[in-house]
């Protein structure tokens, strides 16, 4: 028995000790790098939040900005951020999802479609300022509406459309084929299969996509500067789509680089903290329904 084992061992000549050592080194290496990255992110968050959060007040968050004196708030810019985000998501998410579903489920396999796919992929990585220029051409020059909330929101939607399309397509494609077959075999139509079997299974990937897109829209500045401007209407809760639409991210840049208020540094610290805090919240809030769903399905 014993000789038999050594006999087989003789065939597999690789060095166990060396393999084990490599394995351990690799684990250590990966672990170390992850730790570094997490440390870096935590430090960054700490730095931003620690500078801004302690001096944050409701007056600052809801207050009107001032051009000259100290003590201006970020109310309208913050409102615009959410308002434009909402409008751009209302445009980009349904359109992007439909395009993604089309590419994953209905598009024939031919050259035209592969070309479209390459274009979508390319568009997803085009610098955002290009979309800003496109927004100018469309809204400022063609429609002559000037720098507006609607112009900014639509340009943001264009910016996010390709990403949303890609993510949806990938998520739908990742659903196992046999799930789709099971639905068809029960007599479901294609539409029913997509609605009841494919989307519910792909929802986690799609929500990740929405988070990504929302975060990007919320933090975007180049597109907004070009299409919605660097001023607000100066009023709180201004739902007019044709008002100028400076957002928080733009305000941050504006205060840092252009403004002449004496407390610019403090304003930008606090704005940065609010911005980071909100984006963190997004990612958590969007995930909660998924967590609940996962809980249930365990």
């Amino acid at each position: 028995m014993k000789s038999a084992t050594t006999g087989t061992r003789g065939m597999f000549t690789s060095d166990r000790g060396m393999n084990n050592f490599n394995n351990r080194m690799f684990t250590f290496f990966v672990w170390g790098i992850s730790a570094c990255i997490i440390l870096f992110i935590c430090a960054l968050l700490y730095l931003i939040l620690q500078k801004g959060l302690p001096s944050l007040t409701w007056d600052f968050i809801m207050g009107l900005p001032s051009e000259m004196e100290e003590g201006g708030g970020i109310g309208p810019a913050l409102f615009n951020s959410f308002y434009m985000l909402l409008i751009s998501l209302l445009i980009a998410v349904p359109l992007g999802m439909m395009a993604g579903i089309y590419l994953a489920e209905f598009a024939p396999e031919n050259k035209v479609i592969s070309f479209v796919r390459i274009c979508v992929e390319g568009l997803a990585s085009v610098p955002s300022i290009i979309f800003g220029l496109f927004g100018i051409a469309l809204f400022v020059e063609m429609f002559q509406v000037g720098l507006t909330i609607i112009g900014g929101a639509v340009s943001l939607a264009f910016l996010n459309l390709p990403v949303m399309t890609r993510v949806t397509e990938e998520a739908i494609r990742a659903v196992p084929q046999d799930m789709k077959q099971a639905s068809f075999a029960l007599g479901a139509t294609h539409l029913q299969t997509i609605r009841r079997a494919l989307i519910p299974t792909a929802v986690s990937g799609i929500v990740t996509g929405i988070c990504l897109v929302a975060g990007r829209a919320f933090g975007e500045s180049a597109v907004i500067i070009l299409t919605a401007g660097v001023t607000t209407s100066g009023e709180m809760w201004d739902f007019n789509l044709l008002s100028p639409g400076e957002t928080l991210a733009v305000h941050l840049w504006y205060v840092q680089s252009e403004a002449i208020v004496p407390d610019a540094v403090s304003i930008s610290d606090k704005s940065a903290a609010v911005l980071v805090f909100i984006i963190l919240m997004f990612n958590i809030l969007f995930r909660i329904p998924l967590w609940i769903k996962e809980r249930k399905s365990r």
Binding site: A185, T189, S297
Partner: protein
Amino acid sequence: MQPIAMSAKDLSVSYGDSPAVRKVSLDFAAKQVTALIGPSGCGKSTFLRSLNRMNDLIPNCVVTGEIWIRDQDVNSPSTDVVSLRQKIGMVWQRPNPFHKSIYENIAFGPRYHGVKNKKKLDEIVEESLKKAALWEETKDRLHNSALALSGGQQQRLCIARSIAVKPELILMDEPASALDPVSTSKIEELIAELKQDYCIVIVTHNMHQAARVSDKTAFFLNGEVVEHDLTHNIFTNPQKPATNDYITGRFG
């Protein structure tokens, strides 16, 4: 003698230029189990999939010939595929429940076909699970995820799901080959039970299983049916040498 539930006449299927099923003619009687046996790659699954037009989903798949379910021509372009597939349940080798609760898995099909009433759905779910011998194990956890069930339970759930739309036939493609012996024998008992109401066509690589569960057996080889007869005759007194070689394990 039972009436014929479904019959295929000169059915050929090819993928692009390569034929997978050649001129197969088979009749399936109601309330009987027909086993399809044969070596790997001989076209059993392809044949089975053409019975409920699942081959429509494969882009380069060409089906010619006739399939009749009562007086309906399955392959006719005017056939309503949705109601056809509702009449023909299908179970795969790998259990494929939806990522939903047990209840939702069963209610999935009936919902498609317009059952909205909650009480009616409850009834269908209970009845289907009972028929699939899964009710006792799941009645207290109907709203838990179907993915938490064992493989064997998942497969019975898939069977329950397919009978929830009240089909006339059930097609099974190696329904037990991914399961342990205990689950396998449960599935076999279930097939014997279901035979009272349905016409069942089952693909299997397990000779003993074919002998145990089926009334008739068809032996496929290279896309053709070599022999089709009562299971008893096939296993005790095959007429063709190829059949004999296969069931005695000399090839395949």
